[in-house]
Symmetry: C2
């Protein structure tokens, strides 16, 4: 018979994955709202954020409840700590998706920029990082989590390239300033989502291997 604690942990795991599914959908919809200039999708993202906020509270409460009622041992404890951290990162990914959706709003009625910046590629890479970090959690796959850490450099490079292109557009043609600025804030939010996916991947490695891989520079000083 399954331990009662295992049932509790499994329920928490399922809640976290449900939240992850919603958050991934929010990022995909915010991207689609931008590409299609779609106001309906944009509102949907804002609506989902309220669901995610409630999920975050519920998952945190479930973790506290298990921590205070049972005495989870090393592995279960690492799992709960990882869940609480991933929970917080997922909620912030949702917030970034909302920020993107809000930045889409002033763009809805405007013509695309003359400069083409590769926001679709940035969004795609970032969504892959989010998906891989969550798959790594589900499969307890530290190697996949490490691959996510490596992807963050590519995303940073894409972001810097988009930043330069938008800056050039703004300087060369002042009529692009407002639009370019909103696109830049959107790019910035994708880059932040990648940072949160990186945090999730680090938490997975801690959970699977019991070691902390954050801030490698801090460790080698």
């Amino acid at each position: 018979m399954e331990r009662r604690l295992d049932q509790d942990l499994n329920r928490i795991r399922q809640s976290l994955l449900r939240m992850a599914g919603t958050v991934e959908e929010m990022v995909a919809r915010a991207t689609q709202a931008l590409l299609d200039r779609n106001a309906e999708l944009q509102r949907e993202v804002v609506r989902q954020d309220r669901e995610v906020d409630q999920m975050e509270i519920d998952i945190d409460e479930a973790c506290h409840s298990v921590l205070s009622r049972k005495q989870p041992a090393a592995g279960d404890l690492r799992f709960l700590v990882a869940v609480m951290k991933i929970n917080s990162d997922l909620e912030r990914i949702g917030d970034s998706a909302v920020n993107i959706a809000h930045s889409v709003e002033p763009l809805l009625a405007q013509a695309p920029l003359p400069t083409r910046v590769d926001l679709p590629l940035l969004s795609q890479r970032v969504q892959e990082m989010v998906r891989d970090s969550l798959n790594a959690f589900v499969r307890r796959d530290a190697r996949l989590a490490s691959a996510v850490l490596a992807s963050d450099d590519e995303v940073d490079g894409l972001y810097r390239q988009i930043f330069r292109e938008l800056l050039t557009a703004m300087i060369e043609d002042p009529t692009t300033v407002t639009r370019a600025l909103h696109l830049l804030l959107i790019a910035r939010n994708f880059e932040r989502i990648a940072d949160h996916a990186t945090n999730v991947a680090e938490d997975v490695i801690y959970f699977v291997e019991g070691k902390d891989v954050r801030h490698p520079s801090a460790e080698t000083r």
Copy 2:
């Protein structure tokens, strides 16, 4: 005689306050680096970030260790959970201070903008929020923590005003674009620091009163 657990908790509390002191100094120095166009202070902020990264790891490990070795009861458990969350927010405040310091770099050799935007006021309000949220933690003062939540609206208003002023400057005078953009990213990072101070204040209320005040809209749906 003091309980052994109390000694552990007290050591963790002291470590967190030491980290908080360093992070507050980073924000103050990043601001001063901007106002004085001071490259030395800017480098100092980057150096301190490595210390803060290590402090975050050490505090997390100390919390895990107490959680796994002792069975902390309700109040102590809430304290430890609050510390782990505040720890994470402090580290991210440090990251934002580093982002500000990095944005100062390209401004060092440039003339100030013709438009005057009130970044000093924004920074001052944000630093007050950080300080008050930490004082609320030290004094277990839920009322002070609530006041921090209220301040966040003022900071959001200041940020939006600065955003509009810089946007206007960029549109009216393309030679300001690069500088205005860096100032905008700086303002955005101050606004994020305020969000983290808000998170800390929410954690303090949870810790003191045992209730979750995050996402009020989620609760009243």
